[in-house]
Amino acid sequence: MTENTSLKNRIDIRFAALRSSGRKALVSYIVAGDGDNTVALMHQLVSSGTDLIELGVPFSDPMAEGPVIQRAHERALANKTSLRRCLKLVEEFRQQDQNTPVILMGYANPIERMGAEVFADGMATAGVDGALTVDLPAEEAEPLNQLLKKRDLHNIFLLTPTTSDARIAAVTRLASGFIYYVSLTGVTGAGHLNPDSVAEHLTRIRQHTDLPLCVGFGIKDGASARAASAHGDGAVVGSVLVAAIGNAENDVAAQDRIGIITNEIRTALDR
């Protein structure tokens, strides 16, 4: 992590740059295939201040999602967005953007169906930098982890308020890229951030790892993003962006709205 010249993964390059300039990372989540032009939405996220894109892979049974993101998954599936299609979308995004890290966030079954090795190869070819698979905890992650590692890709793990110290140690040993800290027990889009609790848990996690720590769940605007990332390295925003896309009359309106939201959060983080 210290020799920046040897960094091969866009996630590592981006966090190294952010650290050296003392800035926090803004990680933005949208669902692939929600709306007519995912790639344009991705470029919009970048131009309004996003550091890392988390692209949601739609699944028929998104168990960790609240109603807002569930509906986005349903819309994306109605648009026939498969995992294969998600890889294509990133490939298309890479034609114009070689630098912004992209991770795919989804569920285990579409990967299982494609085959983990085909998936890992597909990620490398398309220019995806990491995967976050919600229902693939450390115990079950080893096969995919090995495949990703071989290709210099990252497997992003979640830690939560219910994760014990012993488990934090075990998960951080497997993790690479960054750690996604889930700030509350609940589904996406629910609840409110408790900055004191976040600070306490990030301190606990920091004893086990030097990886960047990004905080998600309960982040709705610039103020909550700023509070969440105060003791970490970045903030993840999802449901407010997905809601904006869902409520927009068309793609241009969706781009405008997510641009405004992202700008506001970026400004707050850089203040």
Partner: protein
Amino acid sequence: MSELPASRDVARLSKQETERQSIDYQAFPDTGGHYGSYGGRFVSETLISALDELQRMYQQLKADPEFQAAFDYDLAHYVGRPSPLYLAERLTAEVGGAKIWLKREDLNHTGAHKINNTVGQALLAKRSGKRRVIAETGAGQHGVATATVAARLGLECVVYMGAEDVARQSPNVYRMKLLGATVVPVESGSKTLKDAMNEAMRDWVTNVEDTFYIIGTVAGPHPYPQLVRDFNTIIGREARRQCLTQFGQLPDALVACVGGGSNAIGLFHPFLTDSTVAMYGVEAGGEGLDSGRHAAPLNTGVPGILHGNRTYLMEDEDGQISPTHSVSAGLDYPGVGPEHAWLKDIGRVRYVTADDQEALAAFRKLTHNEGILPALESSHALAYSFKLAMQMSREQHIVVNLSGRGDKDIFTVAAIDGIEI
């Protein structure tokens, strides 16, 4: 045994048979909850500590004679066990062939095998000190069984039920409400059991600190498939004893319906090492396997990951879970317990299907010949047992798990008959 097997198929089968003889079925699942390559724990990080805690508590209580005594007491005095093993003589004569014995789980308190598991999990919930229980339900039998034990222990109870199932199982919805439970209709996805389970998982991930999730079948993340199985093996242990007492030998075949598969594993598990006992798990054939409208993952599905475990699933080529159909809400599920997936692969249990029409015909046949109204779920097992009995001799014995009673289904059957009640 006088003839030597001629074909290569038979030779291969007997090799698998020999390998099976050395399997220690009690050694499954392994410590990670795996049955071969199935099972495991595929859930979000938030739930891992709760599952660890449940596993620790269960391992400890499983070996605790006091806990086992409390469970046995409740099974005897609250559930009303043992349930009879009943020889259906008129039915046997009508079908013509092997003797059909019914394991009468329909006579349990609340009318199905589901109460065996909820009584057990209620004891766990009580030990955990959590004040709130949640459950998913398809036909409503597990919801009723959960609401029942919650009422008995004074626990808050929330039951998630697909909106389509709420409509077709209205008597059970009202029973749950009478018992003091909150029934939440689930409007997402296909509005059936799988969506109810998604929603229950979402509730659990939100309220994990004070909520005990009573899963109703042998699916879900480890240790659920194991503990739901263990609580239901009372069915098979009783049946084995009853067979030896009532007809002096082990049965030739066991038949049970399989949705998630809790009643089937409960009957099968204590017989797994008895190699002379054939076993048939009957999946819902719906409108026929060719129609695509069915719920038969073991017959048509592929291994995949859903609801916390790896098992056979009905899904499309992109790994999206397919909608299912069965006339019986309790079988209307695209997955199946991981132990069944494993038992299929090693060839110990044969998984077959009965379609909607066959199940309805069996429902009527048992009602007319024996004065017993079976659940539509159990009617699938009955339907297959008729086919099997006809190919067997009158001296042979089949045990069918009559896993639930059919009072809840009279509206469904009446609607099919075009009668308004």
